[in-house]
């Protein structure tokens, strides 16, 4: 059943509250949107409402972490990214055991438009040396990633979708931190994706297969640390890598993959993601506009494989 990863996170968090007494939730007037509301109802004493003051929220979370609490700090991805100075100083540099949870990733946020869209968050978070970055591709993976974070020690960023995502994984799925997942094999190119666009990549691979193009698909739920070994393997098999993400093309998954494969001379990587600032529209319309739906991803792959077609989706 299709479900937003933010919803699956909220459900998992409420369950974890019962088993992890040190888990606390820090929120800035967005618990109804980030889905920490359920936790707040079940564990009101461990829910810390700090209002629309995210800089303070990040610092308070760092202080809580340094007293032994396990704070999950939830807000929109863009508002956390906007407090980068507090994150680098109070969380990162202190190596504080804080989980930053950014919902409303990318243009998938939809009608609210650019001001509410996380489009730079991965670039910023992964620039901090000790920050791990996770982005689940469906509800099951979001639930498992949340469970993983309850026991992980160190600064972490979890990126979640506003929109419902189709199921990819079964309920017996096991989350392996730092491991990419080959969802489909293909010799012509490999689509390396993360988050809400992974399901679209699987559909795009079907569309491409119908036209005789064999596209592999790799799901990267752990953007940092990146599974470089797996990437090198799939890159050496197909030599063309198209990264796909609902994030700006500068600094996100695509950049991380380019960095990882930069010493493989025969491999060509093209980054496919959001160009420019976001805008208002339905999630469906925006995914069509930014070529992040299955048809758009398939078209981006065809252009990549056809040298005389000019690249339009790289920045």
């Amino acid at each position: 059943m299709a479900k937003a990863t933010r919803v699956a996170f909220g459900e998992a968090l409420a369950r974890l509250g019962a088993t992890h007494e040190n888990v606390v939730v820090v929120d800035g007037d967005l618990s109804c949107s980030t889905n920490t509301r359920k936790f707040s109802e079940q564990f009101p004493a461990r829910f810390i409402q700090l209002g629309i003051a995210e800089g303070n929220m990040v610092g308070v979370a760092a202080g809580l972490a340094m007293t032994g609490k396990i704070p999950f700090v939830s807000s929109f991805a863009c508002f956390l990214a906007g407090r980068f100075e507090q994150i680098r100083m109070s969380v990162g540099y202190n190596n504080a055991n804080v989980r930053l949870v950014g919902t409303h990733a990318g243009v998938g946020t939809g009608e609210d438009g650019y001001s509410q869209m996380g489009l730079e968050d991965v670039a910023l978070m992964r620039s901090l040396p000790n920050m791990v970055v996770l982005q689940p591709a469906d509800a099951v993976e979001a639930e498992r990633a949340t469970e993983f974070l309850a026991d992980y020690v160190g600064p972490a960023y979890l990126r979640l979708s506003r929109q419902a995502l189709p199921d990819i994984f079964d309920s017996d799925y096991s989350f392996e931190f730092g491991k990419g997942i080959r969802l489909r094999e293909g010799r012509d190119l490999v689509l390396v994706a993360s988050g809400g666009v992974v399901a679209n990549c699987l559909e795009a691979a079907e569309l491409l297969a119908a036209n005789g193009v064999e596209a592999g698909v790799v799901n990267i739920h752990t953007i940092k640390p990146l599974d470089e070994q797996l990437l090198r393997e799939v890159a050496s098999n197909s030599s063309r890598v198209l990264t796909v993400e609902d994030h700006g093309v500068i600094g996100g998954l695509g950049s991380a993959v380019v960095e990882a494969l930069s010493e493989m001379p025969d491999v060509v990587v093209r980054r496919h993601g959001v160009l420019g600032y976001g805008e208002s529209g339905t999630q469906v319309d925006l995914y069509a506009r930014h070529m992040l739906d299955s048809a758009g991803i398939a078209e981006a792959a065809r252009r990549f494989l056809t040298p005389d077609v000019e690249a339009v989706a790289t920045g």
Binding site: G55, N56, G63, M66, Q86
Partner: protein
Amino acid sequence: MVVLSTAELSGLAQELRADSLKMIATAVSGHPGGSLSAAEILATLYFKELAFRAQEPSWPGRDRFILSKGHAVPVLYAALCRAGCIEEEELSTLRSIDSRLQGHPDHVRLPWIEAATGSLGQGLSVSVGMALGEKLDNENSYRTYCLMGDGEIQAGQVWEAAMSAGKFGLAKLTGIVDYNKVQLDGRVSNIMDLEPLADKWEAFGWHVVDVDGNDIDSLLAAYDSARANDEKPTVIIAQTIKGKGVSFMEDTHAWHGKAPNENELEQALLELGVGAAQDN
């Protein structure tokens, strides 16, 4: 801990000043003005007010002290040294490569530092988190102290933090403003006036104590007043003099972030009356 007299704490503050200036002179960089203004505050905290174990920095029951005005860290290192946490020879490594005594406080390198600071305006938020953590556990285990600069509290985040401490009634949180009236570019009143400062904190739900921050007994009374209040966080507005104790450094922004040369250090130590006995 031996209970020190007012005169002894005063003498200790002078020694912290001398140590700070020697460290800064050796490093050939650092912030004398805001270190000197806070010497009595550090002396009273570390030798009277704070509960801690010099050789057990992670003792859970320790009081937390966060130096939000991180640039004044030489005076904190000096206090940690006099308190037996770090060795005297380490003081001369301030700001040098591989030193635990970074130019601004570093929690990971030096365990007695409760939180990294130096990007101004963030320490009170971290302090609120620590005080909240203590309150959540309900074990009456420690108090939290946060020393802020006056220029620093121009930052909006400080007031976000102040609002949240008021909301949660963090009675075991004590903020101290080192109100030395001078910041890097000049006088606070010209750059971005803070007044009416006591009214601002009161409006945010704080118990306010306004004292002479270079006077030992006034500071001790202020800490007592904070302890006596069990409903609100307390802020001590410590009226201090920037560069206090060294005539040519007093009340000027010229010595906010400049190291004294050999002659200037000699003169400063002479004025402080503790130079001859020290040799680090």
